[in-house]
Symmetry: D2
Subunit: 310 residues, 4 copies
């Protein structure tokens, strides 16, 4: 491969260097900033080519190669890139974040140090109502007047919790015990280092419309403001093939096929055969998989072939 | 949750118990057999329900819940199941297998013990020809007569390599060094333990049509003969939503949409806009993404909207 | 290896079966209980023997083999055992627990369900004082009278936080947002599955005297009441070689050597050469490594060769 | 923490930059070279300090902090450093290497490309004899004359294997099948990226005297020529506390204690109580743990308190 003669430089990305250390603000008091990184789009290509060896060296351009890798889940070359972020995030949000086990983490310790003073607060117009058809989601907002009451109550509770914490510390109670009743909204900080393969997986889950708005706010900044600068070809491919893609099950393929053949009744029959069109009191009963398929059709700007369920 | 009162038994699956320890033969001298396991479809449901808590306890039946989890990549409950296999496999195949880093492995050691005597052999009619349009694949077979020659040559080489190994051992050369020129076709054995989440990922990659035939032979037995008995609901969902599913990129959705609207020329235009329909000498030039989309249409039994490239 | 003829049964451990599902109570409202498991001491031996092959089959008895493996950090056979626990633990403690990335986890979700009502409370005589010479530890207790005040204050704060949570829920605020100011002391539940290798690492860190008392309470029950029943030979070896072992650096070996040669002044000289015996105002200055070595000598019931620093 | 104002630069290490891309030769035809890296001793300190927060900021100097972290297995800060190596290594050695699951790997693919032409050869004076008291080791060398014969035989076998491979390729047999009888001594290449925590673990196992000489040759170069330049403080601490340390079990502590008290007979009694001094035919029987302890005494240049077993 004559790799020994190949010139080697550390991969450096000008667009990312320009924002190194700069905090992107998130929520009322959080941030994300890039501390260090390794690799680039070029490093992904370089790693893929060691696999392919001489055989395919000139066959594909870099962009095509990256798009091919991402499209086919050839994910190991994306592990050659790493990014290290410094983040500030409410503990409640961090509880979801830390579930991603593939990152390296050093978190601010409230055993060693006094807890960070800030807690995440909620504006009077930002209290979200429980979603009715999605058990884990939220939709719409509380009216402003009631919101005002809850915002005041939140401030009072946070102040009391902080005052209790401070009294414990001043009396000499161990930091590791004093912190026990701090609210989940208390901010924490961490260095979080992850490779690009695992970061894309994080983004796919956390930029999703079903992710909680708090962690989604962080994910969107990491994706759009950081990854887009760092590995622009990968970011483009990620949007085309992962974030923007739609996957169809066997049943859904049957329906799609009928639609492509301009066969409406065939489409309805396929859905009915799958048990999707059961009625109750003259209306379609709720069917989760059907409603998911309807959402996909809507994304593609296509009409539902049966009388819509909503 | 009153979980404490809940009856607890180790998850046991009768259909799997019946084949415990029985070797399924693979290739000329390999095998796979189940040594132990933990969990079942019921364990997946149990784990998912601790997440959902009381809230949704009675809402979905087990089958629907498993299908929902798999469809939406809620993969953590599938980690609650583990299986431990004893396998016998050529080292060349094992080189691919071991790339899956999420398993626990104890392999037969040729530092401690004399290498296994068998090497994988090739029948005269099983020599595969290099695929022309897929750099890493194979297609068709060598003619029987030439095959006969190669099979004889293979036997001679394997015999010589073994004889050299034996002479080294008899002369007192260290086992760790004596083995150095054994052919990659030499069989090895291992205990291989993996959780169901990671096993499904292994199967998705290794049952794929692009996987090398040797490892695919093992994967198909693990899937169809073992997982299908162990967790039948998961296996069914895996086929409907993972193995049998098709994913469409943004561009592909544009084309599909036109087809569903009975708009052939719109479909062709979308493909052309994406640069898929460039011509050379009056014929379509090869375009990888277009050919992948054509393969998807073929799977769905739909015609290609442009003049087919092959 | 004629493994095919070997009898195969799922590894079952009577002593562990007897406590399956039984909750061991921890703290005021927590518990640990075994839900399922896989493997046993015998499974570890079985896995190790596939590595050693015929070569050493009869050489060592099971106990000796397990002790050998553990002593030499041959850790892969211990991965062949898995245990699945159902735990109930305060979120503050869970924050430390979840840092162990090698487990499979399904946690009770407060996005889906109403948060568990209980929070960890502190008795009037259980308020710990900040350790003076260890930044992250605690030592001694607050006097009972002041303790009484803090216990009452803790109850008031927890009640208020719960009442705020309940009001939010009743007003229709989304569960995912309503929970944001719950105290870290709120209990959560999880299924937690881990293999024995990683569990021993967890126990080594969390049964350590420097671990916070809350997580140490869980670790000790998992070790002494569960692992000791499940894999008694491994547990014994773990105590002899891991928990009960002492490791000496190069400098410490120099000092030990002089002591073994009955050469007190040589021991003092070695410590001095390493910069351990610097004085200030006629007394030894604090030196972390020296104080760690003194603690090891104390564990071995040996006197400190220099005038003790405390 | 006012981290936002802190100056941020990518960690760069001059001593490592100077050897970037330069191959260090190993064995007859292998190499290791650094392709890229992230972090430095300073990054470890930076990550540790985010945990400790303000509380201990000025307390310890960098060197002391790194030594403290390594001595106490506070390993997460070492994960903040990553290194990417390009290596060329015989497949037999790679089989051991790849067992380390915590690295990212892209290996040269012999499905895509023609296998690398070189195979590892053995000089006439480098044939090792099987160790008699260590089942997996080697010791001493074969005499030169017999060695000559084996070296010639090795060349003949490798040439034949290569010629068979070439004939298969020329006849059009698929590369993925043609390679099946290549000897394990055939070289492969890979990009191998790993964080410093896991690299130190790799080095601890593979620089050990019991590691096979081939992989040990690579490990020593990675340690002494690369890590020593990259993170000199960590490398020094690693040698003092990990490579150069000795660990003593409970029984061994009993014996050591007696020795420190100048009580020879007490030392012998402790060993005897542990069953270490059983005799057969008037001589000490082999006892593995005793012989391991004797080796530790030898390392410390101390005499064995009982009549030596060898």
């Amino acid at each position: 491969m004559n790799q020994q003669a190949e010139n080697v430089d550390r991969h450096s990305v000008e667009a990312l260097n320009q924002i190194l250390g700069r905090p992107f603000h998130v929520l009322d008091n959080g941030f994300v900033r890039v501390v260090d990184y390794m690799g680039s789009d070029a490093a992904i290509v370089q790693a893929a080519r060691v696999s392919y060896g001489k055989g395919t060296k000139k066959v594909r351009e870099d962009r095509e190669l990256i798009r091919y890798l991402l499209r086919h889940s050839h994910s190991s070359p994306f592990e050659m890139c790493d990014i290290k972020l410094h983040i500030r995030v409410p503990m409640d949000c961090w509880r979801q974040w830390i579930r991603h086990r593939t990152a390296s983490v050093n978190e601010y310790s409230t055993r060693y140090s006094i807890a960070i003073a800030e807690a995440q607060t909620t504006r009077f117009d930002a209290w979200r109502l429980q979603s009715q058809d999605n058990r884990q989601g939220s939709e719409d907002f509380l009216d402003a007047e009631t919101g005002q009451t809850f915002t005041q109550q939140e401030a009072d509770l946070q102040n009391l919790a902080r005052s209790v914490y401070n009294q414990r510390i001043e009396t000499g109670i161990a930091r590791e015990q004093a912190r026990k009743d701090l609210p989940l909204s208390t901010y924490t900080e961490a260095y979080w280092k992850i490779n690009l393969r695992n970061l894309l997986h994080f983004l796919e889950l956390r930029m999703d419309a079903h992710a909680q708005i708090e962690i989604r706010s962080y994910a969107e900044i990491i994706g759009r403001d950081i990854v887009a600068r760092w590995c622009p070809l990968t970011w483009e491919a990620f949007q085309d093939y992962q974030m923007g893609s739609l996957t169809f099950s066997r049943t859904e393929q049957e329906i799609l096929k009928a639609l492509c053949q301009n066969d409406q009744s065939g489409a309805v029959k396929a859905a009915d055969d799958a048990g999707w069109l059961k009625q109750k009191d003259g209306a379609l009963r709720f069917h989760l998989e059907r409603s998911e398929f309807e959402a996909k059709l809507k994304k593609m700007d296509l009409p539902v072939p049966w009388t819509d369920s909503k």
